[in-house]
Symmetry: C2
Subunit: 240 residues, 2 copies
């Protein structure tokens, strides 16, 4: 099953941009009258009839709408510090999208080696992984913010389960991510994953002050991007 | 913490090959008398004193041995069909090693597009990921075998939990991988993951005849390598 993404759909018609139109018409040789499947990137899949097979701007008529198609029963934000090696962060974006994530926030920690992150490639990867894994909602890729600003911005949200994966020194007790998920009966989960050099003690303290639960991800020492995908997987499995 | 791998250790002395010696002596500038940490790749880490700082063949004396260092409380084999794109399979090798796997078997299915797989790069990746994630045992990378031969060779093993992730058509009931793991009280798990084109019905039937439990990995449609890492993660989390 092949999915096309429409940047502009009103529930009756779906318009494809030049990339998607070219793929649909030139590569896959669809012609007016063909049935195609289009996602709006917001959570709905449309069964459509291709009306205009213009390879630079195709248009299709909606035959049937499937809201919530390919969705998951939780709402997950993963805030993760971009890795030195960009490929590794992009790999996380792809894998988390396949498994099921709603929002990815690149956060810059005090100890982050990478202080700047451009979201354009991650957006393309998220779109491609959404289509490949047969989902209709593209995860949001937020603009980068500092770890502290992210903590403060999420701090007010009442009912979400907020987790921080951090090696707390001293006597801060940590539970496993599964224990934290098991004890929670809501659907909104926020996970914060630090940079290669970990969070600063100030960042960790601020998170705990703002309701973040310190968790561990088991006994293995994981790379940043592996920790982020493992956290998304733990949420996915917990809601299975 | 930096780990070196010794291909030749007798419990009293550890010898490093040219690669590891060069990294230890030329790159990290260790000199005779320095304390270094060496793994034997078999499950033991040694605290050592560098005796001979020859950059082509260094040798260290064991001060203390830590058997089982960085180990995990299960024994996991993941048999997975190599992906068309080699990078994706190698990514699985790296991530499964970080999370914790004992044996990786590249298996060739009837519907595999890739019929040949060379293990040399995977071996290097497994070694590197073992050191990076602070483990002392390098997962075994087996030579490729056909899916059917793998099923037959594992069929005799009595107490292991054998799982096959497959979209069984018709009325074959599948449980989730977590349910299968929860119902099992042993430590030996074998997971079989098919190629992009899935297993053939004959392969699936043969697996079930030989005691494989059909499982699903949740609602998301995952790429081969994502399914393999998710399965390893589910085992890791189940034994946490």
């Amino acid at each position: 099953m092949e999915l096309f993404y429409s940047y502009d759909s009103d529930g009756r018609f779906c318009r494809l941009d030049a990339d998607e139109s070219g793929h649909c018409v030139r590569v896959l040789r669809h012609r007016a009258g063909d049935e195609i499947h289009v996602i709006d990137g917001q959570g709905t899949m449309f069964r459509c009839r291709l009306m205009d097979d213009n390879p630079k701007g195709a248009e299709a008529e909606v035959l049937e709408a499937f809201p919530g198609w390919g969705g998951h029963p939780y709402r997950l934000t993963v805030a993760c510090c971009p890795t030195k090696n960009n490929d590794r962060f992009e790999w996380f974006v792809e894998k988390a999208t396949e498994v099921g994530v709603d929002r990815i926030v690149p956060v810059i920690g005090e100890r982050s080696e990478r202080k700047v992150y451009k979201t354009d490639r991650a957006l393309r990867i998220a779109l491609s992984a959404t289509k490949q894994s047969l989902k209709s909602r593209i995860p949001e890729i937020a603009e980068p913010v500092s770890v502290k600003d992210f903590i403060l911005s999420e701090g007010g949200v009442g009912k979400s389960l907020k987790l921080i994966a951090y090696c707390f020194e001293g006597d801060t007790k940590r539970i496993s991510i599964q224990e934290a998920l098991q004890a929670y009966d809501g659907k909104d989960v926020v996970v914060l994953i630090g940079p290669e050099g970990d969070f600063s003690p100030e960042e960790a303290r601020l998170a705990v002050e703002h309701g973040y639960v310190p968790v561990h991800l088991g006994a293995s020492r994981l790379r940043t991007e592996t920790a982020a995908v493992l956290a998304a997987t733990a949420v996915y499995l917990a809601f299975e």
